[in-house]
């Protein structure tokens, strides 16, 4: 189940992100939103929820008057001409877990949206604050775009500033400039169907699981659930000792379990310990060294960041 508007606002406050909140009747368009908050000096955003042919999702969030050409974006992402379409309405609810009309960058905090790629109009940077829906279109909050960017990066999401109006040539010698923003996996809808299946609380929800699971079984055949989980976790396992150790133990256990089987016990008997130990060394040394180096680099970077922001105390 996605987080609620209240939970999101609480999280923003906890992270000391400053925002101004404006409640209003439900609005389904930017024009309608402008009627209520247009007088306030902050950039209005239009938010497009898009899908490509491989069922990968994107949110393009732009200033209301930035021209967004889906054909150009599609090429810049390396999806060919016409590879990008507006996502169907069900996807807004299933993947972003927000009501229709509430597409917002904040939706990325939901687990189901973890592999959605967010393209932010770099034009946002010219405004002190910009308006976004905090997961529900009966409220708009205005905040500085950098705060939004950092907030989403801190939960490991794929966010990038893009010059949406640029139209660079894409060809043999000019690779698509936004190719890095294409998510590596389609979101795993399997997860959602499992969750909704257990929500037998409302009468409304009961009818849903049947429809969703049917869809998931068609889509899920090619998806690697494990992989998308790993991608989201890997960046945080380098900053958090607990997760780091968990990664190491997981890999080591996998090898130990693989080595200790009937035939090996028979073959090596008491020497099995040495055999397993050698196998661990052989298979894991390189990988663990790489993990440890990344951990060290991440820690150093945090220190570096703190250092440059710290006012010099002594001469």
């Amino acid at each position: 189940m996605g987080i609620s508007k209240a939970q999101l606002l609480q999280r923003l406050q906890a992270q000391q992100i400053h925002f101004s909140q404006y409640d209003h009747p439900v609005v389904m368009t930017v024009e309608a939103q402008a009627k209520h908050v247009g007088h306030i000096k902050a950039g209005l955003s239009k938010n497009l929820f898009l899908k490509d042919k491989k069922h990968r999702f994107y949110i393009v969030s732009a200033l209301a008057d930035t021209k967004v050409d889906l054909k150009v974006l599609s090429q810049r992402l390396g999806l060919g001409k016409g590879g990008l379409r507006m996502a169907p309405e069900e996807a807004v609810v299933e993947v972003l877990e927000v009501p229709l009309g509430s597409v917002t960058p904040f939706a990325l905090v939901n687990e189901s949206a973890r592999s959605v790629s967010l393209l932010l109009d770099q034009g946002f940077k010219t405004h002190e604050c910009c308006f976004f829906h905090p997961l529900s279109n009966d409220t708009s909050i205005s905040l500085h775009i950098e705060d939004l960017y950092k907030f989403l990066k801190s939960v490991g999401r794929m966010v990038a500033y893009v010059d949406l109006e640029a139209n660079p040539t894409v060809g043999k010698d000019q690779p698509p400039d936004l190719a890095a923003l294409v998510p590596s996996d389609a979101p795993s809808i399997q997860n959602i169907s499992e969750k909704t299946a257990t929500l037998q609380i409302d009468g409304d929800v009961k009818s849903k699981p049947v429809a969703v699971t049917a869809k998931a079984s068609k889509v899920s055949s090619g998806q690697q659930k494990e992989k998308s989980v790993n991608n989201a976790n890997s960046s945080s396992s380098f900053a958090d000792p607990e997760q780091f150790i968990e990664e190491i133990l997981k890999k080591a256990s996998a090898i130990v379990v693989a080595e200790i089987k009937e035939e090996n016990i028979k073959q090596h008997g008491g020497q099995l310990g040495a055999v397993v130990s050698n196998s661990l060394r052989k298979n894991l040394s390189l990988e663990l060294k790489n993990l440890a180096t990344m951990f060290k680099n991440t820690a150093y970077t945090e220190g570096f960041g703190a250092g440059i922001r710290c006012p010099a105390k002594r001469l």
């Binding site: 890095a180 790993n230 960046s235 390189l286 990988e287 990344m294 680099n297 150093y300 960041g305």
Partner: protein, 400 residues
């Protein structure tokens, strides 16, 4: 006499190796290159010596002769190391495209090993100015590519407490520029033309570039790192096509009172389609990219990897595979860690008992693990981490 001389000239034109072009009508003749560039082959005694000095297994690229050539100063560096005198490493990349392929990673993988094994610091130069000039990119685009490439480089596993990455556009100036001018004063225009092949049509930016790639070999170019340590020696792991820059550098060094850098050079990582060139970022099917998915890797290897196997199963069982030109086997020799397994494949595939499909399958596994590992590491590299690596800061523990 005349005919003989002419024939030699024609032969020499068959292969072209310089920093901007690598091509040959046939296989690259490394013996000829070694002759031409005046370097020496690395032999087993060298590999053994590295093992003794570092106390760890020599890197796969040394065991498999990927890094295969050096100039005389390499032995001096090892002699000095044995006496307790350290050295520093210098390597670099010309950031001309965002798409990095495995061939690009090779010098970095080897350099990382050298950094770990010898416990020495490393400077990595991103020649964004060079690519701006040669590939006609805008300054902004070259700088952006430099930062993007830096992320892939960091993902190779360099230790931030021992590594300084810099882009020319950011760093050139101060003591670095002073050395550039000193070097430039020692190289006549005619000499530069002789080494790099400049013509009257080349713009002056190109002609004045070589000192930029030369001076990182001198410790005084990095006062924030090596100040006072003017006798510190430099070792440059690079691909053999970069040799011209460093021949110029070694020529100039003694005249400036600097130590000559030592080089350790690698052969080219062949393109998927065959041994007569190096991987080319312009043709996506000539290479495995670090952004390729497991499916793409499988497809590229199966479809494009040039096979040295025979055209029919019977012939293959009779004659075996031609390992000289077989790309899957060559790639395995670069990346399959386990020597015994590679030997086994060499015997079985070479005699025809093993088929190309099996070798390709093993290669796909190896490459997939490699690329996935790189991707996971790359995902953990933040912009702030790049800033940290590129910050002009002292490295107090760089020799520990």
């Amino acid at each position: 006499m005349e005919n003989g001389a002419k024939r030699v000239e024609e032969e020499e034109e068959e292969q072209v190796v310089n920093p901007w072009e690598v091509s040959s009508k046939n296989k690259i003749d490394y013996d000829k290159l070694i002759d031409q560039f005046g370097c020496q082959r690395l032999d087993q005694s060298f590999v053994d010596r590295v093992f003794r000095l570092t106390g760890r297994s020599p890197h796969i690229f040394l065991r498999r002769n990927v890094f295969f050539a050096h100039n005389r100063d390499l032995n001096e560096i090892l002699d000095a190391y044995e006496r307790g005198d350290k050295f520093y490493l210098y390597t670099g990349r010309g950031p001309s495209s965002e798409a990095l392929h495995l061939g690009h990673l090779i010098p970095f993988m080897f350099t990382k090993y050298l950094q770990e094994a010898f416990k020495v610091p490393l400077v990595i130069q991103l020649t964004d100015d060079e690519k701006c000039m040669w590939k006609n990119l805008t300054v902004e685009e070259s700088k952006r590519l430099a930062r993007e490439n830096a992320k892939d480089i960091i993902a190779c596993g360099f230790d931030v407490s021992r590594t300084f990455i810099f882009s020319d556009f950011d760093y050139v100036g101060g003591a670095f520029y002073e050395n550039m001018v000193r070097v430039a004063k020692c190289v006549t225009y005619n000499k530069a033309v002789g080494i790099f092949g400049f013509t009257g049509e080349d713009h002056i930016g190109k002609i004045s570039f070589p000192p930029v790639q030369a001076v990182p070999s001198f410790p005084s170019s990095f006062p924030h790192l090596f100040s006072g340590n003017d006798k510190l020696r430099c070792l440059i792991p690079c691909a053999i096509d970069q040799d011209p820059y460093f021949r110029m550098t070694r020529d100039v060094a003694p005249r400036l009172g600097y130590k000559k850098p030592a080089l350790i050079e690698s052969s080219f990582f062949p393109a998927l389609q065959g041994v007569s060139g190096k991987m080319n970022a312009g043709d996506p099917n000539s290479a495995i990219y670090v952004t390729d998915s497991p499916k793409e890797i499988k497809n590229k290897v199966n479809k494009y990897a040039f096979s040295g196997g025979q055209d029919s199963v019977e012939n293959h069982r009779k004659y075996g595979a031609n390992l000289e030109v077989d790309i899957p086997f060559k790639y395995l020799s670069f990346f399959l860690e386990y020597d015994e397994e590679l030997e086994h494949i060499r015997k079985e595939y070479g005699s025809g008992r093993m088929l190309t499909g099996e070798v390709k399958k093993r290669l796909i596994d190896v490459l997939t693990v490699l690329v996935e590992r790189h991707r996971a590491a790359r995902a953990a590299v933040t912009d702030e981490m790049v800033d940290a690596f590129m910050a002009v800061r002292p490295l107090p523990n760089m020799f520990n």
